[in-house]
Point group: C2
Chain length 429, copies 2
């Protein structure tokens, strides 16, 4: 299968200035970037005139099935929200509700130009089936919660699920699904369990997903409990020996940041969720200066309420300038790199998140022509400050067009609406 994207405008970093180029996609990869369209015929030719061709976005932290709880229990203090609303609702989840809620999440993400997401949740095999059916990519994980210092971790139901998930799905469809291991957080796990899971992840040669220093309370209580920060806790239990993507990192200390840099961990920055839940603003500049790979994440739709990396990029572009009172911070171009390449690296997808020959063809077209994008002096500024999610015209994942001009090619939207209505309507009765 060959798809030719002609008359494409690339961002300045690709060195084509304002010239239009042709990008040839062959099977899953970018096979050529040329100023003139190649002479050999393609199976499909897409005229990209008026659009910007960018690498797709990567969502480095998500709980996809929480779309089911979008807008449920708003504007409450964190503990009441969790204890009165979210935890009781999660008790009632089933394979089927997670499947449909995940498919709803995937449809939203594809429309927003997202090619891949990292997920931590329950019934993760249902998420995997939604990923396989939809064509999106994902790094899936079932996170361990272990409070018993003497418990038999290998027999914990969550651990059994995590292992089964890895055995079934890790590397599936040429790496479209990667399975990570996961510890929910420091405050939900005893050290023995962390060491155990770290060892298992090493055995599978895969990565780890953790929540890290999201709230001040978590960060302080960890220090009170163990005499060290959550980052030091995970370092000392061996977790960071595996490639780790740590979500949030709002309360990281300078020493934590040095540890994360040394261990080559990634941090998933979730600006919308951190603001909405009142967690605070993470030290983005310090992380970038230390050389830590930073990616963007949405967290779940219950605390966001969107699964939209462009929105995270745009929120990040504002918040760091405003809170640090410096308009030169968090420039558009840097945040764009986090939203694309940073996310791909956080998922250990080295051949993703860039436009180059040999890279995976995870590509997005952004319409530059809506009035709200005019005039356009700077495409990075357009992306960071004026573009809308609705300007996404096409999302291609591994060379397959999954969304174009309002239509999904792999998801039956009417069926999805029906399934969601049937599954969700009676959920809270």
């Amino acid at each position: 299968m060959k798809i030719l994207l002609k008359n494409a405008t690339l961002l300045p970093e690709y060195g084509y200035g304002s010239r239009r180029v042709s990008v040839l996609v062959k099977d899953k990869k970018i096979a050529g970037i040329t100023e003139q369209p190649p002479e050999a015929p393609a199976d499909e030719v897409i005229d990209c005139a008026g659009n910007l061709l960018i690498p797709a976005f990567y969502n480095a932290h998500c709980h996809a099935a929480m779309t089911l709880f979008r807008g449920y229990g708003e504007d409450l203090p964190l503990q009441r929200w969790l204890e009165e609303k979210i935890f009781p609702a999660e008790e009632r989840l089933t394979f089927r509700s997670v499947y449909h809620a995940s498919m709803l999440a995937i449809a939203e993400m594809l429309r927003a130009g997202i090619a891949s997401f990292s997920d931590m949740y329950m019934f993760e095999d249902a998420v995997a089936e939604a990923v396989l059916a939809s064509g999106i990519k994902a790094n899936l994980s079932r996170s361990l919660v272990s409070f018993d210092p003497d418990g038999d971790i290998a027999r914990e139901p969550r651990m059994i699920e995590a292992l089964r998930l890895a055995e079934w799905y890790h590397g599936y469809d040429d790496g479209r699904i990667l399975v990570d291991f996961s510890l929910h957080a420091e405050y939900t796990n005893v050290p023995r369990a962390c060491a155990y899971v770290a060892e298992v992840a090493g055995r599978f040669h895969t990565g780890m997903q953790i929540h890290l220093s999201e709230t001040e309370k978590e960060h302080r209580e960890c220090i009170a409990r163990w005499g060290k920060t959550p980052t030091a806790f995970f370092r000392d239990t061996g977790v960071l020996e595996n490639p780790t993507c740590a979500a949030h990192g709002v309360w990281l200390t300078d020493e934590d940041i040095a540890v994360l840099a040394e261990k080559k961990a990634s941090v998933a920055h979730n600006p919308v969720s951190n603001l909405k839940l009142g967690s605070g603003v993470m030290p983005l500049g310090k992380l970038l200066n230390a050389g830590v790979n930073v990616a963007l994440g949405t967290d779940g739709a219950a605390s966001n309420n969107r699964l939209d990396i462009l929105r995270e990029l745009q929120t990040a572009a504002l918040i760091h300038k405003g809170v640090n009172r410096d308009p030169s911070l968090a420039p558009a171009r840097v945040l764009f790199a986090l939203a694309t390449r940073g996310g791909a690296l956080a998922q250990r997808r080295e051949d993703c998140g860039r436009i180059g020959v040999g890279c995976r063809a995870d590509l997005v077209l952004i319409d530059r022509s809506p009035l709200h994008n005019l005039p356009c002096y700077d495409d990075y500024a357009m992306l960071a400050y004026s573009a809308e999610t609705a300007d996404v015209r096409m999302t291609m994942v591994d060379g397959r067009i999954l969304y174009r001009n309002g239509e999904y090619t792999s998801i039956d939207e009417e069926r999805l609406r029906y399934d969601c209505r049937e599954t969700f309507a009676h959920y809270f009765e």
Copy 2:
């Protein structure tokens, strides 16, 4: 002219629960709200099924023609941005470029559900003509800048322009245009000039627009210069005796807030611009607790880069929670009131910003059906956390439908694109 909006879902504050109602618009006003459609025929019947019917948004602070500078000179420190980019570019503005740039702004605002905007800029008669041609409402002002303590203020070109604007346009088309008087800011005006303009505004029985305590530098330098804050400066020069809409208010003290409450001034909160320019986060909670009327504004597209009150609402819903670390702050319902009724009151449009019999028919339909709005447990949460500007299906101003399903009824979009291209293309050469 009678337009019937049937099967409309209203927000809970209107007391219709989840029942669908019919809203009858007769000429410029809402003539009836009934559970059953009225029997008398209407000239047009619009089926609102699947949509939420809300009062339109009001943009309480704008420099519309700055769409011309959207994305021009991004991510620079404030002084360099102003001195190297914006001020030289503004020197070259003409009536024609301001007209076309304002029309571009108006088109963007109508698509975003905005019925009215407050404007401070130059060539304001060009803005007025764009307002008249497009059908939107506006409170227009030409702001004074006066550095000479002995100058003849009445002969200042800007003062002459402001007076001419008021004489020509104040109250035009049944109040569709209101002309306000304006002082750019404390740091750009001597006290004598402030007193003079305040007196003129009183003579016209109209309002004032000012910039107030936007940056810490402005606030501190005012105290160094006059031994008082900008708010006290404007109080003592008599400005606040007129109905005043003060933009920004980021650095207001508790005393300032008490003064603004006592003088019944409104504050236009511009969260996106304040973040992007690194100005800081305004004390929203204190203003609301003191009973100050707060509205939302976009500021100009050079520092935003959008003219979109829904985006301001959504940004405000995040930033106050995040910076104050309390997720119960700035609830969706309160911010919605600021974006609608708060803006109407800031513009002294008492019969606007609500849905009620006798109110002006400034109405917007929001599509609840896109996947990113599902499920919908709470319409306020949908508006504040998940809806997109592209979900606006219709914008009606004074009973006229100006935008519907991607089409403008009063603006020729192709002509606008042509005019903008011709006017903007060679602007920076």
